[in-house]
């Protein structure tokens, strides 16, 4: 991959990959490390960019693998403590751009926070499927290929995740 290709890829997919890393990792520091490692690994693995290939999917799969390995290393401590994936406020500041927030914006922000918390509380596999489906807009078959599981498994995880989110977000959904 040439520097020019990498620059173009980061320009095109940087936001998507970063958002995925941000919410997979749960905090900015780890997300930035994951994002950085993802691109470095992608560069290492890809001789050149095939314009017909799906670079975004490729990067997402690299990010997933790196995150999985990282999690594995700290599995002991994570398990003892229970899941500690938090979303800090910093990650939710995109609504605020320096202007005073209107009531509507405050409500929206609170709704988004509830949604993110609910997604963040999902188990790793369910959360990954939700992020790939809704955030990255991948199809069931793409997710299956990327995660290395049958499509039926993806559907099942999506179903479970939706059910759980429906329960957790009941208040938000009825308010709408």
């Amino acid at each position: 991959m040439t520097k020019q290709e990498l620059t173009e890829c980061i320009d095109t997919y940087g936001r998507d990959i970063y958002s995925f890393c941000r919410h997979l990792a749960g905090n900015i520091q780890e997300a930035e490390e994951l994002y950085q490692d993802t691109w470095l690994k992608t560069v290492e693995l890809l001789e050149s960019i095939d314009s017909t290939g799906n670079v975004k999917s490729y990067c997402l799969s690299v990010a997933m693998r790196i995150w999985k390995n990282k999690k594995r290393k700290f599995a002991w401590r994570k398990r003892i403590a229970g899941t500690q994936d938090y979303l800090d406020e910093e990650g939710l500041e995109y609504i605020s751009d320096g202007r005073p927030a209107s009531e509507e914006q405050i409500l929206e922000k609170e709704r988004d926070r509830l949604v993110w918390n609910a997604v963040g509380e999902l188990s790793g596999k369910l959360k990954t499927v939700i992020l790939l489906y809704y955030m990255e807009e991948l199809s069931i078959s793409q997710i299956a290929e990327l995660a290395g599981v049958p499509e039926g498994t993806v559907k099942s995880r999506l179903y479970q995740a939706r059910k759980l989110l429906e329960q957790k977000l009941e208040g938000v959904l009825y308010e709408k």
Partner: protein, 410 residues
């Protein structure tokens, strides 16, 4: 409701968070500016340098290091005169001149001071090593805790072919490592480390500090220097059987590893255990700065003490949970309520299964691995699971509970 949920998720989860420009620039900087950059980790060198590298592969030499700034100078440049004075005193005690610039040695750990290693087109020279309390003007704080008992290390990193180091170059990881403790967990980062660095005449000088490692003097101690931002397990081998750490000689980049020989009399097992505990508990906030509840910390500390040898002393095995599973049966175990948190996050209709890849890639056959999980985070529902990868590739799973929880609950 399904459609509303879809709309809500699509709307809220739309990627909005942009990576910072600095972060993107950092990535580009790290990737070599060559037409084909896929050999990023393989530092390229001229033909002449390659020839020299073949002759001097893995060279480890003690050099006359007068051409470098002294450790005292480096500390002074970092604005730490107290530490600079200490290094100068140590150099003086070791009979090493510092004017003109020389190597500040230290009586108790001078063995590697002045030693150089050449790997991946880089030459790394250790210029100073010092440990002790109150050696610096500055104190590291994490939360409410002040870290004043520290280890300091000064290294010079330069390119073998003489090209100058970039003043902004920060992509190196310098850290002490401790034999018997997983290097990816216990390193400068988890030991509350920090560093400052500068480039002078094309040589990068880095002053690293972290919690004092002298208390681990009864372990093998190492100093690693690599061309990565953080500890990278692919660069070093950790032998779980004897706890030794060694270089991955297949790696083409920089993965220097110096042996530190600190006087074993400096070992302090109580202090060492306190540092281990601190690392274990500090990792739990996951970088969020959110402190775990005391009952969770207590449960973690208690569970962390369990070993294959003392497990039966403190826990009772629930015989009906013992089962051996294989890839053929999909790694499924019969107690999903136990497995969920411990070794799998597969839930609901799929049942529960042990992560096959987790077992086969990371585990040593025949060794018992102990894990703990607690839904509440406290001792009252702490369940210990043990997993063993058998020689035939199957995995034996069992769940245990503490013998008398009441004695741990206050």
């Amino acid at each position: 409701m399904r459609n509303e949920l879809d709309e809500l998720l699509t709307h809220v989860l739309t990627p909005r968070e942009k990576p910072g420009d600095i972060l993107n620039r950092k990535i580009l900087e790290q990737v070599k500016e060559t037409e084909h950059m896929n050999q990023k980790k393989y530092k390229r060198a001229s033909a002449a340098v390659i020839a020299a590298a073949v002759l001097a592969a893995s060279s480890i030499t003690a050099v006359a290091a007068w051409q470098y700034r002294s450790a005292s100078d480096v500390a002074e440049r970092a604005g730490d005169e107290k530490l600079a004075d200490y290094f100068a005193e140590q150099a003086s005690a070791a009979g090493i001149a510092t004017d003109p610039p020389g190597v500040a040695g230290q009586a108790d750990s001078a063995n590697i001071v002045g030693e150089s290693q050449n790997f991946g087109g880089y030459k790394v020279t250790v210029l100073g090593l010092a440990s002790g309390a109150e050696l610096s003007h500055y104190q590291m704080k994490s939360g409410d805790q002040v870290h004043s008992d520290r280890t300091y290390c000064v290294v010079a990193i330069e390119r073998e072919d003489g090209t100058e180091m970039d003043a902004e170059h920060g992509n190196f990881f310098v850290s002490p490592l401790i034999g018997g403790l997983e290097p990816w967990v216990y390193n400068a980062v988890s030991l509350c480390g920090g560093y400052s660095q500068f480039v002078e005449e094309g040589i990068l000088y880095r002053l690293l500090e972290c919690d004092n490692i002298e208390c681990f003097a009864d372990h093998e101690l190492y100093l690693c220097v690599s061309d990565t931002s953080f500890y990278d397990s692919s660069l070093y081998h950790y032998d779980e059987t004897d706890g030794s750490i060694s270089r991955n000689t297949e790696y083409k980049g920089l993965n220097a590893l110096f042996d530190l020989e600190i006087d074993a009399a400096m070992a302090d097992p109580v202090k060492a255990q306190a540092l281990i505990d601190a690392v274990n508990s500090s990792g739990e906030d996951d970088g969020t700065g959110i402190e775990l509840p005391k009952e969770t910390q207590d449960a973690m500390a208690w569970a962390a003490q369990l070993t294959p040898e003392n497990l039966e002393q403190y826990c009772v095995r629930m015989e009906n949970t013992v089962q051996t599973v294989t890839a053929k049966d999909g790694w499924y175990v019969q107690q999903p309520w136990l497995v969920n948190a411990a070794v799998s996050d597969t839930r609901g209709g799929e049942g529960s299964r042990i992560k096959a890849e987790f077992m086969t890639e990371s585990y040593t056959p025949g060794r018992l691995y102990i894990e703990g999980t607690s839904t509440s985070g406290g001792m009252e529902d702490l369940v210990i699971t043990t997993i063993m990868l058998n020689e035939d590739g199957s995995v034996t799973f069992a769940a245990w509970v503490p013998k008398d929880v009441s004695m741990y609950l206050k």
